[in-house]
Amino acid sequence: MNAPSWVRDVFEHYLICEFTSIDNGKPVTFPLLFFYNDDPHRFVVTSSILFSRKVEHMKKNPKVSLLFSNPEGSGIEKHVVLVQGIAKCDDSDLDHGWERYLPMWRKKEPYIDGFLAAREQFAWFWKRIVVEVEPKKILAWKNGDTSKPAEAINL
């Protein structure tokens, strides 16, 4: 990806994105923790089966978007980046498939180990679907000024 460093910083340091799936033509947006892989470029979110309606949406329509607008807790300046992509949902191993993202999760939420220690108590929460998003288009607003035109990022 030919992205400027300030865009890569957003992907590497922001805690959450605003993730949108489509439910029968209606956009449904929620704040979600995300993980970023740069080789190949993929954005990943995981979803408990408790909150799996968005996964049901994506199975019917895999077109999604991730907006990165909130630098809260990231330690970097505010920029706004939109990623549109195709989601692939993997629920083949609800108990362990998501665990490969645990090191990245732990970096963003160090206290997650406390929840993990009570895994039996929160058994439903820890049954998780992995959603991998292949980016198709990226637009970025430096300094978060969305009143100005966005910069298109080459994939």
């Binding site: 605003e18 956009p27 947006t29 907006l67 929160f122 969305t146 009143s147 966005a150």
Partner: protein
């Protein structure tokens, strides 16, 4: 942050004003909104923008510079809040997601709210939200059953 499900959803066939759906006092506790619609290629298109509340309680969104025309179309607007913790993670999680239509209004986009979903962990703690979401988890597991049986 995990999606927190629908704490409260209102809507229906009755014509409602934005004030009927959205508490202006609660909305004023958010700094900006995320406007999302479906673009010409069928992808969701989201953009962050500032908003203000008129004296009449109308939600006025600052018009972002975007290539798509969304006026008249259905949009979702997310108002989200978290507080970052210096040691990592966050707290004070709450959001309001409003669906409706927007129209031009003196340089702003006026949101005509039709439906709402929200969560505030101070009102509904996360563990209680998880309990409320168990039926959805069961439905999801049941939907996987045919492939497990095959």
């Amino acid at each position: 942050m995990e999606e927190r499900g629908h704490l409260e959803t209102r809507g229906g066939n009755q014509p409602l004003t934005s004030l009927d759906l959205v508490d202006p006092d609660r909305l004023s506790r958010f700094r900006y909104g995320i406007v999302t619609w479906i673009d010409k290629d069928g992808f969701p298109f989201s953009v962050a923008t500032d908003f203000l509340l008129s004296e009449n309680g109308e939600i006025l969104l600052k018009r972002p510079s975007v290539p798509e025309i969304m006026t008249g179309g259905r949009v979702g607007v997310l108002f989200n809040h978290i507080t970052g913790i210096p040691t990592g993670g966050y707290t004070d999680r709450r959001y309001i997601l409003v669906w409706g239509r927007v129209s031009e209004d003196k340089g702003f986009l006026k949101l005509h709210a039709e439906e709402l979903s929200e969560w505030d962990e101070k009102i509904l703690p996360f563990d209680k939200l998880c309990v409320a979401a168990v039926p959805q988890a069961k439905r999801y597991l049941e939907s996987l059953q045919p492939s497990i049986d095959a």
